[in-house]
Structures are given as structure tokens and as C-alpha cells.
């Protein structure tokens, strides 16, 4: 069976079921307008709050799903916060970091004990450090996008995932993320603004498949640690 055969047969069957032929120009134009100018539907009011309260809400929502959150002041504090976290959890001071210029701007050199490799995650990597495009206070969710500066494997392979997130990147609802991607992608109407992978991450990996017992670290990271940086202009 040819691919177009299946396509035409399915579309024909859909139209028969809808009791009509292909849509006319006007109808198509109306639907395409809906696609070209996507409008938010009802957005929950819980994030209609000032920015500092959004950071608080983000923190409490993330903690509720077993992420840990550290709030530090100034970019200079980031390497220390990461090193301290690793020490507290008896993790080796070795990490793989996203090749992200924003992360490079932190003074990692002040922590010479940290062995940092930049690139995608490999099987043996135990700790990954990445940034995030945004955080959503709505549910304590991080948005990360694939690209040269952010291999998606870093979000899933290492058992500890540390995310460095400037506080001003914390927004309210997920819709703000889509608007941000459309703006950044410079796209006017088509879907070309989408990175290959957009990950919305809410807490560490978990499963409840055995007796509904919530267990962390099913396949993805066991630990998700978020370092929120206040006063970071990156």
C-alpha cells in the first residue's frame, strides 16, 4: 500500500464521517488563522501574583514534587552552591555541564576541585548541570530546550541533575514558555520556532508502578536540584 493511498483513504473516511467534502477556502482560512495566532485558553489565576511571590510559589511547588531548591544571591555564589550540594550528598566533585555560555559565565575557576566536562551526557556521568529556559511557578516546572548549548541527554541520563536558574526566568504559566519560544525562534506563523526537544520537567523521575509506592529515580534522575540565582543578569 502506498503512503498516499493510506492518506487519501483516511482523509476520505474522515470527511465521509463528517458528512462533507474538503473544507472550503473560507473555512480553511479561519482554522489557519487559529493556528497562526495561537491564543491562550483559560489560564489558572494562581500565578497572577508579583514576581517575588512567583519565585516563592515555584520553590514550594518544586519541593512538593521532591525537587530540592537552593536560593543564592549573585552569580558568584553558583559554583559554591553546586560544590556544597555535591559534598552534602557525598557525590564526587565531577560533573558534565551543558556547553551553555550562560553557565560558563559563572566563576567555576574559584572551585578548582570541581572537575567539569562540557558536552552531552555519557553512561558514566553521575552529575549533570544545565540551565533552563524558564521556570513556571504554576507547578514548579522547568522548561529546557535542546540545542548546541543544551544536550537533552543531560536532563535524563545522570542520576543527579542540577539546574541553575536565574530568578527572573521564573514565570507564571506554561503559556509564557510557548510565547517565549515563538519570540526567540523569530517565527511569524509556522512551527519553525520549535527546538527539536522541549522538556517540561517537574521534579525528579518517579514511579508508582509497584503497589502505588512513589519511588524516585525510575529511569531518569533520582535527584533534581534547582539553584535559583537572584541578581543574575545572564
Amino acid at each position: 500500500m502506498s503512503a498516499t493511498g493510506g492518506r487519501d483513504a483516511i482523509l476520505g473516511s474522515i470527511r465521509r464521517s463528517l458528512g462533507r467534502g474538503p473544507l472550503d477556502e473560507a473555512a480553511r482560512a479561519a482554522l489557519d488563522e487559529r493556528l497562526a495566532k495561537p491564543q491562550p485558553n483559560l489560564v489558572p489565576a494562581r500565578t497572577d501574583i508579583p514576581q517575588d511571590e512567583r519565585v516563592e510559589l515555584f520553590t514550594s511547588m518544586a519541593e512538593a514534587v521532591f525537587a530540592t531548591v537552593d536560593r543564592v544571591s549573585g552569580a558568584d555564589a553558583v559554583p559554591g552552591a553546586v560544590a556544597d550540594y555535591l559534598a552534602q550528598h557525598n557525590l564526587p566533585p565531577a560533573l558534565v555541564m551543558a556547553p551553555d555560555p550562560a553557565l560558563d559565565a559563572y566563576p567555576w575557576g574559584e572551585r578548582p576541585m570541581l572537575a567539569i566536562r562540557r558536552g552531552r551526557a555519557e553512561e558514566a556521568d553521575r552529575v549533570g548541570v544545565t540551565g533552563a529556559v524558564m521556570g513556571f511557578a504554576e507547578t514548579g516546572t522547568l522548561m529546557m530546550t535542546s540545542g548546541p548549548d543544551h544536550p537533552s541527554s543531560l536532563n535524563f541520563l545522570p542520576e543527579t541533575h542540577i539546574v541553575v536558574l536565574p530568578a527572573e526566568r521564573i514565570g507564571g504559566a506554561y503559556e509564557e514558555g510557548w510565547a517565549h519560544l515563538r519570540a526567540e525562534g523569530g517565527a511569524d506563523a509556522d512551527g519553525g520556532f520549535m527546538p527539536r526537544t522541549v522538556n517540561l520537567v517537574t521534579g525528579p523521575s518517579r514511579t508508582a508502578d509497584i503497589e502505588q509506592t512513589i519511588t524516585l529515580g525510575a529511569h531518569g534522575p533520582r535527584r533534581l536540584h534547582i539553584v535559583i540565582v537572584e541578581g543574575d543578569e545572564s
Partner: protein, 472 residues
Amino acid sequence: MDATSRSFVANARAGLQDADLQTSLARFQGGFQVKRVEAAKRLPEFEALRDEARAIKDHTLAHLDHYLERYEEQVTAAGGTVHWCQTPEDARQVILSLCQEADARTVTKSKSMIAEEMELNPFLEEHGIEPVETDLGEYVVQLAEERPSHIIAPAVHKTKDQVADLFHEKHTPLGRTRRLDRVEELVEEAREVLRPRYLAADVGITGANFLIAETGSSTIVTNEGNGDLTQILPRAPIVIATLEKVVPTLEDATTIMRVLARSATGQEFSTYTTVSTGPRRPDDADGPEAYHVVLLDNGRSRMLGSEFREVLRCIKCGACMNHCPVYGTVGGHAYGWVYPGPVGAVLTPNLIGLEEARHLPNASSFCGRCEEVCPMRIPLPGLMRKLREQEFERRLSPAAVRSGIGVWAWLARRPALYRCLTGLGIRVLGMLGRRRGRFTRLPLAGGWTAARDLPAPEGATFHALWRKGRRA
């Protein structure tokens, strides 16, 4: 898969007598129900979001042809390919040729009900390709050579001890000889066993919670992260989805996501929601080299034109089975095919035939909890009743039921005659039952008295007493 829906009654009896199953069922429903209520309470807009979610799907279904065409255009623009498949067989052939092109020996899979529908695992095995299920519950079910009993919690029918025995048996050849006791240890062992499988897999097959027409993206929602490892590590990921998974925009998908996890597990949001668009970009640091979508119809386009269109709004959250008292007593396997519970009672007869599955829409007390909790407001009892009407019209229901209803309905339209006969019958029953107040056995009432006594009637009908002018 071979449906056993015809033997629903026997399946159900087996389920009722399975002590491990009963232990598991008793545990799981309560937890999910409480968590859903709490999640809904925390979101004042929850009910309004359900309305919007329903409206989005209704709009999409009414323009399904257009949105699928736009979706395909965007997939193509992003460098991916959509394969339109009318039947499971078409889909299997496409998947096989994609696997063969990738020279695949093992395929990782993230839980997909569509794969169950197309019986993908046995098919791949027949062709020398090893499918590896990665969702923990689905992995358990695969090891046990069983089928999922729930659409989001495939191994909900198993106790921890059963999983422990299973892992002990199946993992011993891998050098893991200790029988584990704690849930965390079992999860850890599955993680360790599956990790190399992800890394070695040539092809990764995932389902899709949404297809997005605006961007040509597919979206998966998981808690474990298995879906992501399945689709970013292998060279060639394949997304399998049915037609009705498409929604217009990212915003539309977002609205439905807000009711999905809350209805399913009571989570505010699932751990991982991933939107994938095409293969890796030239300067991407990692990601798959190709992107294929197998778009399966298998009866959906036909259902679109039937009185069952509304069930196509289903987002496979499982809330209906989490709240169904029948599912809660017999378990998912009793339903005998891919989709158990209330939504299965509507989907299964539509997909494999009412002759095969006529029990499913009948095995409901119409208590209405499924409709009450369905985030997409699918009128499941009403749709089951429509199936019963089809059954009646097509004379598939048992002759005894048909003639019984016929006689009763004939009488029910003749009040005087009905009064006369029932008045007499009730007097007799009343006298016979007067002393004990109940019957433990009664001719023609075996269905009733198998599990309970029949309370004796008071002895005269209300209408007879009322006509005599007796007042309280």
C-alpha cells in the same frame, strides 16, 4: 491480540477469586480517588478547564481532516515523515520496514496502548527484533508474559511480592540472584537492567499524548523519564499515534495537560512532558537522526461519523477505571482486550465488534462515576447504553433477556392487567415470605439469590391499598 472479551463472565469470576488481584485492586483505587479529589480542589479552575478541554477536542474532531493535513505539513517541514496507516497491519509493516532500515536488533518501547492494539511485540519478535518495554509497569507485564490491566498503571494487578518473585526468576540469568524485598530495590534493579538496553537500542518506539498541528510536534507525558530515554537515545525514534491525538496548538495541548495528570494520578503535572519536533538539528549536541510518525486510523475515522464520536475525546488518563466499581472488583484483564474499564466498554465493541464484546457495555451498574470524573466529560454510561441498543436491535442479546423484557414491557403498558397479575403474585409472595421476611432461594431468581436474600414484599401492592382507601 486475541480478545477474550467473550468470556467476560468467566474472566470476571477468575478475577474475583484471585486473592493477589483483590489485594492489589483494593489498594489502588482508593489512593487514586483521594488524590484526584485533592488535586481538583487545589485548582479552582478545574471544572472550567474540563469544559475547555472538551470544547478543544470537539472542535478538533469536527475539523480533523484539516488539522491532520496541517500537522503533516509541519512534520515534513521539520524534517520528519508521517506514515498514514488504515489498519494495524499497515502500521506493523511500516514499523518493520523502518526497523529494518535502521538495521534494528532491539527496540526500546515506551508504554503505548496503540502498540497493544496492533500487537506489535509479538510481531517484532516474529521478525527477529527484540522489543524491550521500559515503563516499569509495562516491563513487569512483559516479563510476566501478560498484558497490561490498566492503561496508565499496567501492572496494577500485581503485588510487590509477585514482582519480587518475577524479577528473581527473570533476572537470575543476568547474575542478579538475590530476591529483593523492598519496592525501592525492585525499582533500582529495573533501572540497572534497563539502562544498557536504552543505550543499545537501535529504534525507540513511543506513543503520543498529543500531536500538535501548529508545530508538527508530538508530545509524551511520563513520570519515569523512560519515554525520553526511548526517544532521544536511539538513532531512529518512531512515534505511534491514532488520528484523534491531534490538537491545534501548543496552548490547546496545554489546557488538556492541566486536566490530564490531575485526573489520572492526582499530580499537579506529570514529571516529564516532552514536545518533540522533527529529527536533531544540524548543530544540536545530541538527539535522534530521524523522526517518523505512524499515524493509525484503525476504526477512528469511522467512529467519527457514528454516535460514538465523543469517545474520541478520550485522553487515556485512566480516571474512569480508577473510579469504576466493576473494574475495582474484577480487574482489567477481565475485559479481555486492550482497553479495560468504562472507556474500554465503549471502545472495545467499536474496535473489535459488538459480537466479541457485548458483555462489556452490559457489565455496568450505570453508577455514573466514570462520567463524573472523566476530564473530557465523555458520557460513558450513555454510550454504553447506545451499545446495548445496538445489541438489542441486532438481536445479539440473549433470548431470555429479550423475551423477558418484551413480556414485562407489554404488561407495563397495560396498567389494569399489570395490577391484577402483580397484585396476585405479591399476595402469594407476601404470604410465603411473611414468617421469615426473606427468601434465600426462589425459582427464576437465581441471579439474585446467589449473593443475597430477596426481602419478602409486605404483602399487598401500594395501589391495591390506596384504592381501598387505606392511609398510613
